[in-house]
């Protein structure tokens, strides 16, 4: 049933291209930027993310309390003029703690998520494109990492990481967060490899690395970008889990994760302990997703919005 193929109308793409005289050729990245600029989603996400980052940097300045300060006169108080987000049981200022926690979580999330996607993209594309023994070895390694309980490895490795700094946590999270996506990318690459345009590039003598970076990665980029934006949230949450078990961020350092795990028991009775960090987390992940969504549509010229 070729009903839809019979309708050339539904694809305005079939229009013959008229010349646009006198225009300099525009580079690809320029075109992606132009498209991004036309998308409201992108601006909403970017502004949201920008506000969170600015707040994380400058939010402490107007506040009278530092995140380590204990206000023994106001233990467990609800939000007030002195403590904007209230205080914890031992009198810590939640506002200050949220900001300091947000700084850590932002850095961890924004670095670990995309880093994991990058590793997944490169390794998956290599395995899928090269095939043969390379593919077998890489897949064997991925499967090995997937079967090993990663928490167990974290526990094993945590003494080493403790001696370094919390920054090492970023790499640890990235190192255990790429495997499933790498398998997806590998499968995508294997089907892309048989497509004519990859064959055409190969027959022109284009090198392996160029084919991967120029043809394969952009064509799986929508997957990677979604993965990276989702990864921001996932990395923040993974860090929470680790911190909860005592292997991630250690006191007196705080992160959104440690705040959430500390406050979740009081979510009903003293909601300010939980709601403010949680709201900030949702805000951050949502903004990152909006930017990612817009980016995916801008990179993919065939996605709905670009069909004008």
């Amino acid at each position: 049933m070729e009903v839809l193929n019979e309708l050339p109308i539904s694809e305005p793409i079939e229009e013959p291209v008229a010349a646009r005289p006198g225009k300099k050729p525009v580079s690809r990245s320029r075109m992606v930027l132009n498209r991004l600029r036309r998308m409201p989603r992108f601006w909403v996400g970017l502004v949201g993310l920008g506000l969170v980052i600015l707040w994380a940097i400058f939010g402490l300045i107007p506040n009278a309390w530092n995140f380590t300060d204990l206000d023994v006169y106001n233990m467990g108080s609800s939000p007030s003029a002195t403590h904007w987000f209230g205080t914890s049981d031992i009198g810590e200022d939640i506002y200050a703690q949220t900001i300091v926690g947000l700084r850590k979580s932002l850095i961890i999330g924004l670095l670990a998520g995309p880093l994991a996607s990058l590793i997944a993209g490169i390794i998956g594309a290599f395995a899928g494109y090269l095939g043969g023994a390379w593919d077998k070895t890489i897949i064997w390694f991925i499967d090995l990492l997937l079967v090993l309980p990663s928490l167990f490895l974290f526990v094993l490795l945590s003494p080493i990481f403790k001696s370094l700094s919390w920054v090492a946590l970023i790499f640890l999270l990235a190192a255990f967060g790429w495997m499933i996506m790498a398998r997806v990318i590998r499968a995508q690459t294997m089907s892309l490899r048989e497509r004519d345009f990859i064959k055409a590039a190969r027959f022109m003598g284009v090198g392996t690395w160029t084919i991967i970076s120029r043809h394969i990665l952009p064509n799986v980029s929508s997957l990677l970008i979604i993965d990276a934006t989702l990864g921001v949230g996932a990395a923040i949450l993974a860090e929470t889990t680790l911190s909860f078990f005592g292997f991630g961020i250690q006191a007196p350092d705080v992160s959104l994760g440690t705040l959430l795990s500390a406050g979740q028991g009081a979510a009903v009775t003293r909601p300010w302990l939980f709601v403010f960090p949680a709201a900030i987390l949702v805000w951050t992940v949502l903004s990152a997703s909006l930017v990612g969504d817009a980016l995916r549509d801008a990179v993919d010229p065939t996605s709905g919005v670009n069909r004008d």
Partner: protein
């Protein structure tokens, strides 16, 4: 028109509109046609002309969002507005349909026999299961499936494409319908299988006495089979009449152009094709006036203002009034004031001065190329259970400025052969020589340098262009490999875009913004950018609409003469190969069975397979087509895993059956080698007695 009791099916002023987010699209705009009992109507049109939509409307199979107006009368009663349950009773019993893709039209989890029985049981609940199964076997026998008892138990995936389409025909005729609608039934099939299926369709029509509506884009298919033809363009019928009227005295300029733009086995190779410029309009926002006016060479101002209705032609010879056309100037065309042959200007060949100087030399030679794939079985410990002989000793040679056409059915090893050549690697056996240098002993660096000389154009222009890159980057890609600086790259891209007839300013656009023909031009531009000597063309026009094909073929011819290119042209469409090739090699099961100069191979083929292949190609000329005799090959292409001693064409060979016992023994025992026979080379022991076939 007044007495509609005579008509089996009558479609009156049918309009189908699909609401779309970007505005409603009218796919069918006021179509009138009728089919009488036992009549064979051909509906011809390019993709997007509304031919399938109008027939699906008859079956009531359009999505519920479609808005249908007008009337469809089947045996005098209206079909529109009936419930799906009522229509379901009619489908199969009254009207049945055969779809284009037989793989997706059969359910993969039931046996073919069960699916035919299902069609029978649905319409006759009193029928017992045993009787239905017996009838299914009988139907399979009617449509020419060997061992129908056994085959009825097989699943669709065990059937080849041609056999699946036969099974579909069996289902379609199961309940003796009065009307069979065949929607592009042979488009997905090879030409020899197409000939078989058309024959089965004719037989089914004769047995059931049903009327047939054959929908196709191939004018050749309808020429030999149909009684009447309706030509559709932009959602309307623009010309209708008997086959002879439409083919011999076409009156709508679109029909004239379509007929002249088709490469035709009877005329190809001698004259240049006449392209039909432009492309069909998009039905979303149709300008007022005749939709063909922008492409029409004789359009006058009035054409752009009003859309001409389909009107009966004033036939001066007074034959009959069934010939109608929709053109303001049709009387001038019919009356002879406008000469049909001169309507569309025939493009000039490249001027002598612009042609490239050539020294005749062999630029590419392939000698005894072999590519076998091992057939593995087992999950953990794989063992070899057989060999697929995809390419089994192929030898080819191309001289500079010449075109070698490589033809054969799908699965014969054409694509594997060219992939082996393009890899420029050491073959399993045999030798590949480019420019006199053997590729086997080359270093990686030499090989990369050699890639400048040999480029490729793929079949599907959409799949072969990276959708994520603007076309200027796609075209420049081969140059980046060879380290050409950015400035020189840009200049060269502009130059080749101009060469293939595209505006260099379009470079910043993405592939999906181009039409099919333009995309293939981009593909050709990419192949040209390194100034190659050889271009491998893998079915370069088969994915394009008929009216677009001619323009691309002409472009390839022009480029060859201007730049002195050599083409390795792979195609299954023999008419296209006849048009462009200087020498031809016919492949069957991984071997070349006949090769030689194009005239010799096409005019006087010496191998029975070539002969059968050529006779299966439909010619868009009804009088020629009726006079031709087809050699119908039995069965399908055998699997290349089987090893047959002797000649591997034996099982399907029409000549083999005519030979005496001694001669047959030779075919059984000895594998024929390619040997020169009267102008060509053929791999047949009995090439000399080829005249037995057909005479």
């Amino acid at each position: 028109m007044t007495d509609n009791n005579n008509h089996l099916l009558e479609v009156r002023d049918l309009t189908v509109t699909f609401p779309q987010p970007s505005g409603a699209v009218t796919a069918v705009r006021g179509v009138n046609y009728h089919v009488d009992k036992g009549e064979f109507l051909g509906i011809v049109g390019e993709s997007g002309s509304g031919k399938s939509v109008s027939s699906l409307a008859v079956m009531g199979l359009l999505p519920s969002s479609a808005q249908i107006t007008g009337d469809i009368l089947f045996e005098g009663t209206s079909l529109l507005g009936r419930s799906d349950a009522e229509l379901s009773r009619l489908r199969g019993e009254g009207i049945s349909i055969i779809f284009q893709d037989p793989l997706s039209a059969l359910t993969p989890v039931y046996t073919v026999g069960a699916q035919i029985s299902e069609a029978l049981l649905l319409h006759d609940p009193k029928l017992s299961r045993q009787a239905a199964a017996a009838r299914a076997v009988e139907l399979l026998r009617i449509v020419g499936i060997p061992h129908p008892e056994r085959r009825a138990q097989a699943f669709p995936h065990e059937f080849s494409g041609g056999m699946r389409q036969r099974a579909m025909i069996a289902i379609a005729i199961a309940n003796n319908p009065r009307l069979i609608i065949a929607d592009e039934p042979t488009t997905a099939l090879d030409v020899t299988i197409q000939a078989q299926i058309l024959e089965v369709l004719q037989r089914a029509k004769d047995i059931t006495g049903a009327a047939v509506v054959l929908i196709t884009h191939d004018l050749g298919v309808v020429a030999g089979n149909a009684d009447r033809i309706a030509v559709m363009y932009a959602g309307r019928i623009v010309e209708t009449g008997t086959v002879d009227q439409v083919f011999h005295e076409p009156t709508m300029p679109y029909t004239i152009g379509l007929l002249r733009s088709m490469p035709n086995l009877a005329t190809a190779g001698h004259t240049r094709l006449v392209p039909l410029e432009g492309r069909p309009p998009s039905l979303g926002n149709l300008a007022p006036g005749c939709p063909f006016a922008p492409r029409c060479p004789i359009a006058v101002d009035a054409c752009r203002g009003t859309e001409p209705p389909l009107a009966a032609l004033n036939d001066p010879q007074g034959k009959d009034a069934r010939h109608s056309a929709a053109c303001l100037r049709m009387d001038e065309i019919a009356g002879g004031q406008l000469q049909r042959a001169e309507l569309f200007p025939r493009p000039e060949r490249v001027a002598e001065a612009e042609r490239a100087d050539l020294t005749p030399e062999t630029v590419l030679s392939v000698d005894g190329l072999v590519r076998h794939f091992p057939l593995m079985k087992g999950a953990v410990f794989k063992r070899q259970v057989g060999t697929v002989k995809a390419v089994d000793g192929v030898s080819l040679a191309i001289r500079s400025g010449q075109t070698l056409g490589l033809v054969g059915e799908s699965g014969c090893g054409k694509t594997t052969t060219i992939m082996e050549i393009l890899e420029l690697a050491k073959p399993q056996a045999g030798r590949i020589t480019v420019d006199g240098r053997d590729v086997a002993g080359m270093s990686a660096k030499e090989r990369r340098a050699l890639r400048r000389d040999i480029q490729v154009v793929f079949q599907d222009p959409m799949a072969s262009l990276d959708p994520r890159l603007p076309i200027q980057d796609i075209i420049a890609e081969p140059l980046t490999v060879h380290g050409v600086p950015a400035g020189a790259r840009r200049a060269k891209v502009a130059e080749v875009l101009d060469l293939v007839g595209l505006d260099p300013a379009m470079g910043a656009r993405y592939p999906h913004e181009f039409s099919g023909g333009q995309r293939q031009r981009v593909g050709i531009a990419r192949a040209l950018v390194t100034d190659p000597k050889i271009i491998v063309l893998d079915e370069p026009v088969s994915a394009l609409d008929v009216s677009i094909q001619a323009g691309v073929i002409n472009l390839l011819e022009d480029l060859q003469e201007r730049l002195g290119l050599s083409y390795l042209f792979v195609a299954h469409d023999l008419a296209v190969v006849r048009q462009i090739a200087d020498t031809v090699a016919v492949m069957y099961l991984g071997r070349v069975v006949e090769s030689g100069p194009a005239e010799a191979v096409f005019d006087d083929p010496r191998h029975p397979y070539t002969r059968a292949l050529l006779s299966a190609v439909p010619v868009p000329d009804p009088s020629l087509e009726r006079g031709r005799r087809r050699i119908i090959l039995d069965g399908d292409l055998p699997s290349p895993t089987e090893t047959t001693p002797g000649c591997n064409f034996r099982a399907r060979c029409p000549l083999y059956k005519l030979l005496d016992a001694d001669q047959q023994a030779l075919c059984r025992d000895q594998d024929p080698a390619l040997r020169p026979v009267a102008g060509t080379s053929a791999a047949c022991h009995h090439a000399a007695s080829i005249e037995l076939v057909l005479n």
